[in-house]
Symmetry: C2
Subunit: 170 residues, 2 copies
């Protein structure tokens, strides 16, 4: 199961691809942070992110996508850019025919660390350990994108096991 994880942001957008099966260690396929200058025209920033996401999807061929669900209680200026970058990520996945699942930050933190209130350092440490990386992914946006993809592998697997159990029970 190959998953695209996106931690949306206009200035820094974490993009990760992970291979894995529920209950098994996941494997890092790709990770990067797509950056754009706050002084750039918004349409060109969204276009840059869209193009890079399309390239990553074409190159690594994920089967599904996980995108962080944006909340509105954050800083009001930031949240608009995050919502816009998130829309571009969701659309890029949908255009490529991938099913898209959204997760809250708490769900992702709980999935990778067992603690929905884990801080950034804990998430980065767990992602490094779970993927058996020699170097911790930096910046936090990269680690968050990996955590989203891992969360989706495990959650997706849980749903698939549930579906299989239900089919057997019928």
């Amino acid at each position: 199961m190959r998953v695209l994880g996106v931690d949306p942001g206009l200035t820094r957008c974490g993009v990760a691809v992970v291979d894995g099966l529920p209950g098994r260690p996941c494997k890092l396929v790709h990770v990067e942070v797509v950056r754009s200058d706050p002084d750039m025209d918004l349409s060109l920033r969204l276009l840059k992110l869209d193009r890079r996401l399309a390239e990553v999807v074409a190159e690594h061929e994920p089967e599904s996508a996980a995108v962080e669900r944006v909340f509105s209680q954050h800083n009001v200026r930031t949240v608009m850019g995050t919502a816009q970058a998130g829309a571009v990520a969701i659309l890029a996945a949908a255009r490529a025919g991938l099913p898209v699942q959204m997760y809250t930050p708490s769900e992702v933190k709980a999935a990778v660390s067992g603690n929905g209130n884990a801080d950034k350092a804990q998430v980065t440490a767990m992602v490094t350990k779970l993927l058996r990386l020699e170097v911790a992914p930096r910046p936090a946006d990269a680690a968050d994108a990996l955590a989203l993809a891992i969360c989706h592998v495990w959650r997706g697997g849980a749903r698939e096991r549930l579906g299989a159990a239900l089919r057997r029970a019928r």
Copy 2:
């Protein structure tokens, strides 16, 4: 000068195309409201809007786009969907190579009615008059998209006249 105007929304997105020159009456080329069911998956809602916008751009070939600038002081749940739909509109225009300009609701109202605090009925009445329509465009999202396009024709024209005057002065 042919302009695409988009009043972004997830449930109802106003889309208009208008021909015109600054200081002359504008002409309606196309207007519609793209709707999507709030029960639909978000990725499919964004995809539907993206596809329809691409079709409108391909069919009517506008030279530039005007999209309403989303503000965060509105209802918090609505504003996220509006920001997401706005990002899809901005991206659709950028993908087609169109320059995109954003306008606040007050700028648009002031441009078409002379009053930045005009209500929906006043905007609809002015759009109907300016485009010499026999029937008022409905719903308000359609009128707002037309108002955005008219605003952009006139503002763009003002900028071009200013540019021409500056060139002559040099």
